[in-house]
Amino acid sequence: MTFTLTMLFIMAGGSLGALARFLCQGLAARCTSWPGWIPVLIINVLGSIIIGIAVAWLSIDIKDLNLQNLNPATRVLEELALNEMMALIAVGFCGAFTTFSTFSLENYLLSIDKKGQMLLNMIGTTLLAYGGVMLGWFLGSLGGGS
């Protein structure tokens, strides 16, 4: 039962994430004249920031719950809610909002005659996403645990 519920939340988050990525790409193509890999880079970094915030925030809340002596029924429900939030935001939304397959395909297409942009994309996305998740983790640790 919990398994099915988690899957449903992941599906909801996944469809929202994929849609948001599609719309961001369309918006960037309409409003800017950037090459197609820049919106994907921004999307991947943004998703990494969001997942950092969400996971830091929610894991602090889960730790707090174990400390507090809630009555068991409430605690089970609260834990369930936090786990489903994690499934919805982190695994579903952020996971589907960011994409690795498009990133790899673009790296190959750029490697044919735009090797500089390929290196920029490879190194830039990896480092910025790593920095983004660190930033998100820091922000989430500040806000959580109230």
């Binding site: 469809s15 589907a96 498009t102 490697s111 490879m122 990896t126």
Partner: protein, 174 residues
């Protein structure tokens, strides 16, 4: 109306891709006992292979205006004259490639943007890299980061090659 149908395809594909990633991740991590970052790495690389394969098949089999961005790649060299690049941006979004054919546009939105884009993930990859660094496992983090990016590039290339073989076997070219 057309945009709505395409958005529906993207959303449906995204839901299926996210669930597939979670199930495969659970299979590799919980059932087979691999570390979590290896599980996500396998899913990302498999998705990169599949995107190359599907992308070439869509470009080769369904494109009617013969303006594929793959025409200058080594994959198409026996098929068309060299030195012709229809657009200066090889990385424009896939769905906008198929404006003239709703069927191909929907397939690109559903499979590439939806399923494969939802299945592969960059955010979990960077989150797991951070977790590895926080637990002091810097070697594993570097292997994860460099390995996933480079193997993903290779997988996309192999996928394109397999797609070109299938396209040729079906008697179509770019």
């Amino acid at each position: 109306m057309k945009l709505f149908v395409i958005m529906l395809a993207v959303g449906l594909g995204g839901a299926m891709g996210a669930v597939t990633r979670n199930l495969l991740g659970t299979l590799f991590h919980v059932v087979m006992g691999l570390p979590e970052y290896v599980a996500i790495m396998i899913v990302n690389i498999a998705g990169s292979f599949l995107i190359g394969f599907v992308f070439f098949c869509l470009e080769g089999l369904l494109k009617k205006d013969m303006e594929s961005r793959l025409q200058k790649t080594p994959l198409a060299r026996p098929l068309v004259d060299e030195g012709w690049w229809p657009s200066s941006d090889p990385t424009r979004p896939v769905v906008s490639d198929f404006k003239k054919d709703l069927r191909a546009e929907l397939l690109a939105a559903f499979i590439i943007t939806g399923i494969l884009g939802g299945m592969t993930t960059f955010s979990l990859f960077s989150l797991l890299s951070l977790n590895l660094a926080q637990s002091g496992n810097h070697v594993a983090m570097l292997i994860n980061a460099a390995g996933t990016v480079l193997l993903g590039w290779l997988a996309a290339y192999l996928g394109l090659i397999c797609g070109s073989r299938l396209t040729l076997r079906l008697g179509r070219s770019l």
